[in-house]
């Protein structure tokens, strides 16, 4: 998204312009025009201008939300007429292009005189990004003014340099004659800087040539005049800069992140601002003294993903303009994935990260311009290990010893415990980077005409994003020693089958110059490989995945079903089901069941966001995205089992589940509300066995479905139903009801929490502690679903946490002890509840009979029995407790002691302590006489009372 504008006169009206305006060669997405909301963002409608691609600004008339101007920067990688300034007077239904220079020149900034909205200033920018060069400035760049609401425009360049690059313009709201223009010009002659006009743009004079204002112009150039003080002005660059003397001197804005791109200042209170940068957006109410946090936004852009094979496995990738990241795929001890579950890793922002997935102590990670580091995660110490430690910045690629891609591949091979670093040659180290060898010739086109100055005509861009003729991907064959595939950013594919002794150019015949963004080797066939290619940097958004089944001798384009615009970045083949492919594209996720002949979108709840890379690990698909951090699709098993010819009732084989602690928003039954994400944390993996079952299309609401879990001996562990338990009573401090099975026609999802049945409560006694049944021991289990006269059964395993060492006997001991505790609890609460019912009946009778002389003996006997029962009850449950902290006021009784003991033993480490054993004996010893008392109530005292009633001719229904 490049621009947002909220109407001053009607804040329900919001226009947004899609496609970023700070246009990078990597990690910038194109847009699809203007969206509008008339309900403060609840709903949105596309208002056209789809092909403008990148929108830098939107200005709304201060009194009329239907009059709106759009500054369209236009397509980044090619000539296109859809750029310039557009105007609508009917709220975006119709658009008129009111300022246009040529097909290379878009509008980089548009400023409106808010005291007289007929007056507009527009900065036009002649620009283009080629894969090997950024062009910022040229004959089309110019500064324009309109005084008739955009109908006519005049150039206003008196006092500006002749050579113009990217510009920003801002008219003061407190003095509309004062206009600031930030100008990129010839940097060799130092002609750029901040210019000011005190006569509405007629004449300009330079107020500052501070390089901080105009450096790396294509990425920045933003000037914003304070709305209340004409001498306060902000310039956004790598630092955020503020001047309080009309632009003469500058101080840094600090406290957020670097690389600033937008600033909004409250027109009524200039202490209040919101600023955008490469780390998100932040708000201030004290003019930048302090800013709100940016550590609550899941909006990271990650480039390349890798995972280790630990439990839980970790995800690694470089984050744009930040460190690389290592984050746990799940939090086995908590509810969510938060800042405690991640840390930075090796290399820098653009890192590929490589390691032995079984033992990832040493992580090798790169960054741009070929830097590469080995991080010892045990000590936290890193070591730079470039083959030739050269500072390449600002050099022309043709003068570099090695050329490295912005995301230069760094990969690890299990065969020799070797690391590889892809430059224009492939480099290899077997000693953790102490020494490297070149194991290939130049594997790119090495076209010198594309290896010149990376930024023209006025500002060089030597950060490495334009290094061309570099390896973009290196794939070590996972099964065949010595087989390595490489792909270059200029469209060549090479293969060695002898560990680099000989290389063959296996580029698909006729493949145009393109970015070989990733390579996949089939896990099922050594000769089969896939490449995901894209020509987006040539302004061609065609998806293009190719497949070979003969080591690259021949290729087939397999992109059918992926639409234009969803250009392809990555393809992976499922490691279990052959020909099941996953594709990550610029606009979403696609799958194929037939080896790529046909693709279908399977976006599900994944945001529409560029998928930069994907990897399969432990039955999950891990995706890195460009703007929404990492996502995991947990249950590939379901996709693997899908067979369209199977109909009727189906129960899918669930993945084995690991017995861990923690919980997840994705436990139990999911509905749309559960899809909500918490403000500052990732969603944990479900902590249970995730079952999918499919019900026939003719299933009706009210049809009963049951799901029963049994252990290896066929004993029932747990049973669920689609019907709610009508007798269940909910009260504070009581047990939770079991979830009901969903019964939608088609696919349903249900997570068994691996637990035995929940124990009984004693309404309304508040007990602090869990009523949940214990977790089933590791082992083999079966699940059977029944619907009508059909049933399906699957078997699966519960696995111990691999880090827990315990014997089967210990698990069995825990299981039996927990069963005994649960049995005790159910007996107590069962008998307590029965006696509560009996007391209620006797009390009801007493109420009716009390005062009748003929019933005196019965009433007295009843009262005595009730008293005895109450005394008995009071030893078992604490009825005074109604709230959580009551339990530190009123002493717990026997059942609460059992629940406490259950909690002590309800751990994933199974051994039963002597303390637990002793205490269980003690509790059982307390329960036994009370149990005998209960039996006496049931067998003797209540029957005796009933006999007494009968002999007094008191019937079941007694009329008062």
């Amino acid at each position: 998204m490049g621009a947002i504008a909220v109407s001053d006169s009607d804040p329900n009206v919001i226009y947004v312009g899609m496609g970023e305006h700070a246009v990078r060669g990597v990690s910038t997405s194109y847009g699809d025009g203007v969206y509008k909301s008339t309900d403060a963002g609840k709903t949105w409608k596309n208002m056209g201008l789809e092909l403008t691609r990148h929108i830098s600004d939107i200005r709304i008339h201060p009194n009329n939300p239907d009059i709106v101007y759009v500054a369209a920067q236009g397509a980044l990688h090619g000539a296109a007429p859809e750029r310039g300034v557009f105007k609508s007077v009917d709220g975006g239904i119709n658009w008129k292009k009111i300022l246009y220079v040529d097909e290379n020149t878009g509008c980089s900034d548009l400023s409106m005189d808010m005291t007289n909205p007929r007056v507009l200033y527009a900065a036009m920018w002649d620009h283009r990004r080629l894969p090997w060069q950024v062009i910022s400035g040229g004959k089309g760049s110019g500064l324009y003014k309109s005084t008739d609401s955009g109908e006519t425009w005049n150039k206003i360049q008196e006092g500006l340099p002749k050579e113009l690059g990217k510009m920003g313009v801002s008219v003061s709201r407190s003095n509309p004659d004062k206009v600031y223009a930030l100008v990129e010009s010839d940097t060799q002659k130092e002609q750029g800087g901040l210019f000011v006009s005190n006569n509405g743009g007629k004449n300009w004079s330079r107020i500052s040539k501070d390089h901080r204002l105009v450096q790396r112009a294509w990425y920045y150039i933003e000037v914003i005049a304070d709305p209340q003080n004409e001498n306060i002005v902000y310039v956004l660059n790598s630092p955020g800069l503020m001047s309080i003397d009309g632009g003469k001197t500058w101080s840094n804005l600090s406290g957020t992140h670097g690389d600033y791109h937008d600033l909004w200042i409250n027109p009524n209170n200039n202490q209040n601002m919101i600023i955008s940068n490469d780390g998100g957006a932040a708000i201030t109410v004290n003019q930048g003294g302090t800013w709100s946090t940016q550590a609550n936004m899941p909006t990271a852009q990650f480039y390349r993903v890798n995972t280790d094979n630990l439990f839980p496995y970790n995800i690694y990738a470089g984050q744009q303009d930040n460190s690389s990241v290592k984050i746990q795929s799940r939090n086995v001890g908590g509810y969510a994935i938060d800042e405690h579950n991640w840390q930075s890793s090796a290399g820098g922002e653009s890192a590929f990260l490589a390691f032995d997935p079984e033992n990832p102590r040493y992580v090798m990670g790169g960054s741009y311009q070929g830097t590469v580091e080995v991080l010892d995660t045990q000590t936290g110490e890193g070591k730079g290990v470039m083959i030739a430690p050269i500072q390449y910045q600002a050099l022309q690629p043709k003068d570099m010893k090695y050329r490295f891609n912005w995301n230069a591949p760094v990969v690890w091979s299990k065969f020799e415990n070797a690391f590889y670093h892809g430059g224009n040659h492939l480099l290899k180290t077997k000693d953790m980077g102490r020494s490297w060898e070149e194991i290939s010739p130049d594997l790119t086109r090495n076209d010198e005409s594309k290896l010149g100055v990376s930024g023209v005509p006025y500002t060089n861009e030597g950060a490495g994003g334009e290094n061309y003729g570099t390896l973009a991907y290196v794939k070590i064959h996972p099964n065949e020693k010595g087989v390595i595939w490489t792909g270059s950013d200029d469209g060549l594919v090479y293969l060695t089958r002898d560990e680099g002794k000989t290389w063959t150019n296996v580029t698909p015949a006729g493949l145009k110059e393109c970015l070989i963004n990733s390579i996949e080797v089939s896990p099922h066939d050594n000769a089969t490989a896939y490449i995901a290619t894209t020509r987006y940097k040539f302004n061609d958004f065609t998806p293009a995945i190719y497949k070979t089944t003969d080591y690259g001798k021949s290729w087939t384009n397999i992109s059918n079903g992926i639409p234009y615009g969803a250009y392809t970045r990555v393809v992976r083949e499922d490691d279990v089901r052959k020909d099941l492919l996953y594709a990550g594209t610029e606009t979403g996720f696609y799958i194929s069941y037939d080896g790529g002949k046909n693709w279908s979108a399977l976006q599900l709840n994944l945001p529409v966001v560029a998928i930069t890379d994907m990897m399969i690990r432990q039955g999950d698909l891990v995706a890195s995205t460009q703007g929404r951090a990492f996502w995991i699709l947990d249950d590939l098993g379901l996709l693997r089992q899908y067979n369209p010819s199977h109909t009727g009732l189906q129960l899918f084989q669930p993945d084995d589940a690991v017995r861990v602690s923690g919980r997840s928003a994705f436990d139990g039954v999911l509905d749309d509300d559960d899809m909500e994400q918490s403000a500052a944390s990732g969603t944990n993996a479900p902590t249970g066995v995730v079952m999918y079952y499919s019900l026939p299309d003719d299933v009706k609401e009210g049809d009963k479905i049951t799901l029963t879990i049994t252990d290896a001996n066929g004993n029932e562990v747990r049973s669920y139903s689609s019907e709610k338990n009508k007798d269940f009573v909910s009260y504070p401090g009581g047990p939770r009801a079991d979830a009901s099975l969903p019964t939608k026609a088609g696919m349903n999802r249900f997570v068994w929490d691996m637990r035995y049945p929940t124990v009984l409560g004693a309404p309304k006694v508040f007990i602090e502690g869990s009523y949940s049944g214990h977790k089933a021991s590791p082992g083999k289990y079966q699940a059977t679903i029944k619907s009508g006269n059909q049933e399906r059964t699957v078997s699966f395993n519960i696995l111990p946490h691999p880090g827990i060492t315990a014997t089967d006997a210990e698990y069995q001991d825990q299981h039996l002890t927990m069963l005994a505790i649960e049995k005790g609890l159910n007996e107590i609460h069962g008998s307590v509840n029965k006696m509560a019912s009996a007391r209620e009946q006797i009390n009801g009778l007493i109420k009716i009979l009390e005062g009748k002389s003929s019933s005196k003996e019965v009433v007295e006997a009843g009262k005595a029995l009730v008293k005895k029962m109450e005394d008995w009850d009071a030893k078992l449950v604490q009825r005074k407790a109604e709230s959580n902290d009551d339990i530190i006021n009123f002493v717990n009784m026997l059942s609460a002691d059992y629940i406490f003991l259950k909690g002590e033993l309800d751990t994933n480490i199974p051994y039963v302590t002597q303390g637990v054993k002793d205490q269980l004996k003690a509790l059982d010893a307390r329960w036994q006489p009370l149990k005998s008392q209960y039996e006496s109530f049931v067998e003797k005292e209540i029957p005796s009372f009933n006999s007494q009633c009968q002999s007094s001719n008191i019937g079941k229904v007694t009329i008062p």
Binding site: D8, N272, A281
Partner: protein, 113 residues
């Protein structure tokens, strides 16, 4: 824990073909097949992992007369369950709680687009 919610539009299976340039080849597009898969695997969910450390924003704005509401434009898209919209770039609503002081009081809502 304060919960800030991603807001979802209900699934409506809107398929928007995005690019209609005359010069570009018509996309091979199988809406029926796509709908079928989305329906078949309906309860399957992607899990947002984070980390909750912001990435690039190039557009942000406040609201005149409402110092508690802000919008942030992002590079990543919206999250709409089973929605098939092809617009890039998300927008987040940044709401500030009146009761809580500054540093950690922001709650974010993804606005579906």
């Amino acid at each position: 824990m304060k919960k800030s919610l991603f807001v979802f539009l209900l699934p409506d299976y809107i398929l928007i073909q995005r690019h209609e340039e005359k010069s570009q080849p018509a996309a091979a597009w199988h809406p029926i097949k796509q709908l079928a898969l989305m329906t078949i695997f309906g309860p399957l969910v992607w899990r947002s992992i984070g980390p909750y450390r912001g990435g690039r924003s190039v557009a942000a704005v406040g609201v005149m007369g409402d110092s508690l509401t802000y919008y942030m434009g992002n590079t990543g898209g919206e999250s709409g369950k089973r929605k098939m919209r092809v617009c890039h770039g998300g927008i987040f609503l940044m709401a500030i709680s009146k009761q809580v002081l500054w540093e950690q009081s922001l709650s974010l809502t993804v606005i579906p687009m």
